[in-house]
């Protein structure tokens, strides 16, 4: 403090700067409240997941007696190994790795399918003059109205009758049948400057060349954003996989959660709580990592989609 006061007498400008810094650095009571609220919020989000993670390090008996734990025990490696590699934990014939693979297939298949179908349809709607264009537009966007949950039983009947139950096609394709990605890309294409297509036409580029060489490279960020959102959405699907996959070899991790819950409801034996916690963690790690690492794209994609 003393030397700051000294310099302020000799060099007024520096002193003013120092004083300004000091004023900014001083902790105001309002700041303390703000940070306290934010820390409490962060803890609210973090603690439940942390407890599940820590509990994955304990054996079933301890959790059965005391509930979820706040710190790891010595079973962490064992529980994760069992959850990933052992059959007959909560399912009879598949292990965690198989379910992980199925989740990846569903997430990737769904995201890629959605983007391919959505981009091409949006391109046709925005860049072509069509006789039945308005009709196609409304037919496509009506699908935004009704989530799969609403028409679940008839969808199940239809897919079942087509013999697509317990196939990857039956698992993925019906989920693709809504126009979220199409709507998203339509909004983006509309914001692409008009001059681009004019220039492309003057240079003699056809519609296909324009799409592949100009529009797709321009949409790279949008595609990435959409991919992240759709991958997470596909990975987290629950109701449809529950209905359409009764064959365990097609179970996804999120579908496997239902088996854990049923083991809880069963009550005749003590469920492997530690392994259940490990499986829950495995089910959330990939989408969480993607969202955290590609946060910027993800937030952009999510918030742009409402415009």
């Amino acid at each position: 403090m003393a030397d700051i006061a000294e310099t302020s007498q000799t060099v007024p400008l520096a002193a003013r700067k120092a004083a300004a810094t000091r004023r900014r650095r001083r902790i105001k009571p309002g700041d303390v409240v703000d940070h306290t609220i934010l820390i409490l919020g962060a803890l609210l989000m973090l603690v439940p997941v942390w407890m599940v993670f820590a509990s994955a390090g304990h054996d079933a008996v301890l959790i059965h007696r005391e509930g979820l734990q706040f710190w790891f025990g010595d079973q962490l490696g064992e529980n994760f190994r069992a959850a990933l590699l052992e059959k007959g934990g909560f399912t009879d014939s598949v292990n965690g790795v198989t379910m992980l693979t199925n989740s990846l297939i569903l997430g990737l298949g769904f995201a890629v399918g959605k983007i391919l179908v959505g981009m091409t349809a949006a391109y046709a709607i925005v860049y072509f003059r069509l006789k039945f264009g308005t009709l196609a537009f409304w037919m496509i966007f009506t699908t935004l109205l009704l989530p799969l949950e609403v028409r679940i039983l008839p969808s199940y009947e239809v897919v079942q009758n087509m013999g697509l139950a317990n196939t990857y096609t039956g698992l993925i394709v019906p989920l693709v049948a809504s126009a979220t990605a199409t709507f998203f890309f339509r909004q983006f294409f509309r914001s692409v400057p008009e001059e681009l297509i004019e220039a492309a036409r003057i240079d003699g580029a056809g519609p296909w060349k324009f799409f592949v060489d100009i529009l797709i490279p321009l949409s790279r960020t949008m595609i990435a954003a959409m991919f992240i959102i759709m991958f997470v959405y596909g990975w987290n699907q629950y109701l449809w996989p529950t209905l359409i996959t009764t064959d365990e070899s097609l179970f996804t991790l999120v579908r496997g959660i239902r088996q854990i819950v049923q083991a809880y409801a069963d009550g005749s034996t003590t469920p492997e709580y530690g392994q259940a916690a490990a499986l829950a963690i495995i089910a959330m790690v990939p989408p969480v990592l993607i969202v955290v690492f590609f946060q910027r794209w993800f937030v952009k994609g999510l918030t742009e989609s409402d415009k």
Partner: protein, 293 residues
Amino acid sequence: MKRTTFRNPWLPILLLSPQLAIIAVFFYWPAGYALQTSFYLQDPFGFGSTFVGAENYTRLTSSANYQDALTFTIVFTLLVTFFSLAIALLLAVKADKVLRGARTYRTLLMWVYAIAPPVAGLMGVMLFDQSRGNLTQLFQALGWDYTLGVNYWDTAVAMIVVSVWKQIPVNFIFFLSGLQAIPRSVHEAAMIDNRSGMSRFWDVTFPLLAPTGFFLLIINITYALFDTFGIIDTLVKGEPGNNPMTLVYRVFVDGFRGGDLGGSSAQSVVLMVLVLILTIVQFRFLERRIHYT
């Protein structure tokens, strides 16, 4: 549509056909099928069905179970929407304000977005478990004899808490991006006119956030109606019994457990109409927003 467009007779049809084929088979066909079966009564042994007109619908209006699910859905939707929006708004306002650690807070408050609803539900099962749940023990220490899955409203509390928890990140992301879109100059002008932070928030920031808020309101209602399925199914452990049920969960229970195809389809149609109304409101609003922002 662009002013300058390509003229090509077959390419757009080719481009549209995958989308149209998928929605025709997996959307319009099932939706039409639901509409049709909602007017039929299915024979319980699978020997065909008889046309019963609007009976499946009138059955709904007189069914005490359905009325109960309807009431619960309304209460559930209101509470989930209110709490998740309020908590997220508070956190977003604070995260927008602080200088230090803003990025860390943002990450910590949004990552739960990626957790699947049934996984959140499983965490709820573990924390609210009747005998060993940590929260149950806490409640019991406070003198509340909490029993998940037995007491109707105790189960409802768990459903609401988990659903709110899962929805906070989405609301937080949208509110924060809405707040960041408000120009600094507006804040500075308000700062000169009014020194009180509270009234500055309600008079300046809050009205400017209204479009985001309205959009989120619709999103949250849709979430509470449909996306909470996984949370509800895991919390009742797939055995609804006399636990609270939302309308969507009832469609599933009546259709797949009860084998009441007609009744379930009629419920689907009622939900379709409900969503239709919601979406019309949203679209009208969105169109306005495109023009004025």
